[in-house]
């Protein structure tokens, strides 16, 4: 089970206590007709889609154990069985079975006010945007899922988080595609620059570091 450092604890606690969803934060309940049980394919597929979408926007979190009651999010937690099914290796294997390149994620089992929550934290992609491959589900003896409809994992789809409503959608607009490309360029440039800067430092050329805001203003005004 994932052990959390103190700063990680405060971060995870904040994800629960903030009580509202965001583009990089999705709440899911663990009871009722829409309960998030790993044993159901729709849940596994939705988690995979959202993990890919979060990776494509720079990272985010799924908090399981939050129930919507009268338009308010109540932190009710998950029961033991639900908790036990969300295991790091199982979730990671399923998500990365339908993602290319891989998604970096961590499954946390977190206690808050004597209740257990499952929190899946996803990092932003390191190299290239994540594309859905459809994949196969080890829980279903290797079937390849190419279902249509909202439950499906569509091969070739690129998922993102909508700006209009906090939900996972396929990239369809020019704006969403541009955002994805901008992120890919930024990540690519950083990846290229890191070894260059390292080599310059090693050669005694430097110090090389990003200019702070104050340094940029100072450079702009020069001797004035």
């Amino acid at each position: 089970m994932q052990q959390n450092a103190p700063d990680a604890n405060s971060r995870l606690r904040a994800l629960i206590t903030q009580g509202r969803e965001g583009r990089d934060r999705e709440y899911k309940g663990a009871s009722g007709p829409n309960s998030y049980l790993w044993s159901e394919y729709r849940v596994r597929a939705a988690i995979a889609r959202t993990c890919m979408a979060m990776a494509n926007i720079g990272g985010g979190s799924i908090v399981i154990g939050m129930d919507k009651v009268d338009n308010q999010w109540e932190p009710n937690g998950v029961d033991e069985e639900a908790d036990a099914r969300f295991q790091q290796d199982v979730v990671q294997q399923f998500v990365n079975g339908c993602a290319d390149p891989y998604v970096e994620l961590t499954v946390h089992h977190f206690d808050h006010n004597s209740k257990r929550f499952v929190i899946i934290e996803v990092l932003g992609f390191r190299e290239l945007p994540i594309v859905c491959t459809g994949g196969s589900d080890p829980l279903s003896q290797g079937d390849v899922y190419t279902r249509q409809g909202s439950d499906s994992l569509r091969p070739g789809a690129v998922y993102t988080r909508s700006h209009r409503k906090w939900e996972t959608v396929r990239v369809q607009s020019q704006l969403e595609m541009r955002e994805l490309l901008d992120r890919a360029i930024a990540v690519g440039v950083q990846k290229w620059l890191t070894p260059v800067f390292g080599a310059m430092r090693d050669a005694g050329i430097g110090p090389i570091a990003a200019l702070t805001d104050e340094e940029q203003f100072r450079a702009q005004r020069g001797d004035l």
Binding site: D213, E214, Q216, F217, Q220, R221, L224
Partner: protein
């Protein structure tokens, strides 16, 4: 001779001959083109200048305007009033101006700088109170026009202060001599724009008290400073 024909280097050389103020104001975060056009830059300064005294803070005149790559500038040398400012599209404002007490004043001001006086250096406490109020009011007006975004950084420097004496009508203000033991006095703050918009006069009082303390005037009466500042806002300045 208009100041547009005088280079910024010449203006700065004149200003730096004796005591001078240097003001640097900018947003907390750097964005190269925060202000869309150079026309907008000029208009923002023009509309935000403070005209409580006979001389606006800052001095704005289209005849003395200089346009650069990403900035507008204005400067003048009119008797003991010598100044130059530059406003960048990033929202950065830099202003140098002479300590007027160091210059010979004349009713017949000409478009040439007056020479520094050859006398012990002084600084009027009213000039400090009013100038601080003008700088902070100008910054507040820019903040109100959303030039800085969420936070603004302000730096006010006084140069050539070593050995300088504060002056004021003795019967009201000063019971002893207050002399600076510091060559450069610097006051600096970074604050949310909303705070500045709501509280600029009190921020100006903080800056004023900071300067006076560097003249060995420990804990000047804030009420006296506020009373004098109010006279300034009401144009009942001395």
């Amino acid at each position: 001779m208009t100041s547009a024909t005088v280079s910024v280097d010449d203006l700065l050389a004149w200003i730096h001959q004796a005591g001078y103020w240097r003001v640097v104001i900018h947003p907390a975060t750097f964005e190269d083109d925060r202000i869309q056009t150079l026309g907008d830059c000029w208009r923002l300064v023009e509309e935000s200048r403070v005209g409580q005294r006979g001389w606006d803070y800052p001095y704005v005149d289209r005849e003395d305007r200089v346009i650069g790559d990403g900035w507008v500038q204005c400067g003048t040398a009119l008797g003991n009033l010598i100044e130059v400012w530059r406003f960048y599209q990033s929202g950065q404002f830099v202003h140098h101006f002479a300590v007027s007490e160091d210059r010979e004043d004349s009713w017949e001001r000409t478009r040439t700088p007056s020479a520094p006086v050859d006398a012990p250096r002084t600084l009027s406490i009213f000039n400090v109170i009013y100038t601080m109020a003008e700088i902070l009011e100008f910054t507040r007006r820019l903040a109100h026009r959303d030039v800085f975004g969420s936070a603004v950084s302000i730096r006010i420097e006084l140069h050539g202060m070593l050995g300088r004496k504060l002056t004021a009508p003795p019967e009201r203000w000063l019971r002893q001599e207050y002399i600076s033991s510091t060559e450069t006095i610097c006051w600096e703050r970074t604050m949310p724009s909303a705070v500045l918009i709501a509280d600029a006069p009190n921020v100006a009082i903080d800056a004023t008290a900071h300067v006076f303390e560097r003249f060995q005037w420990i804990e000047p009466s804030l009420q006296m400073l506020k009373d004098e500042q109010r006279r300034f806002y009401e144009k009942r300045w001395r």
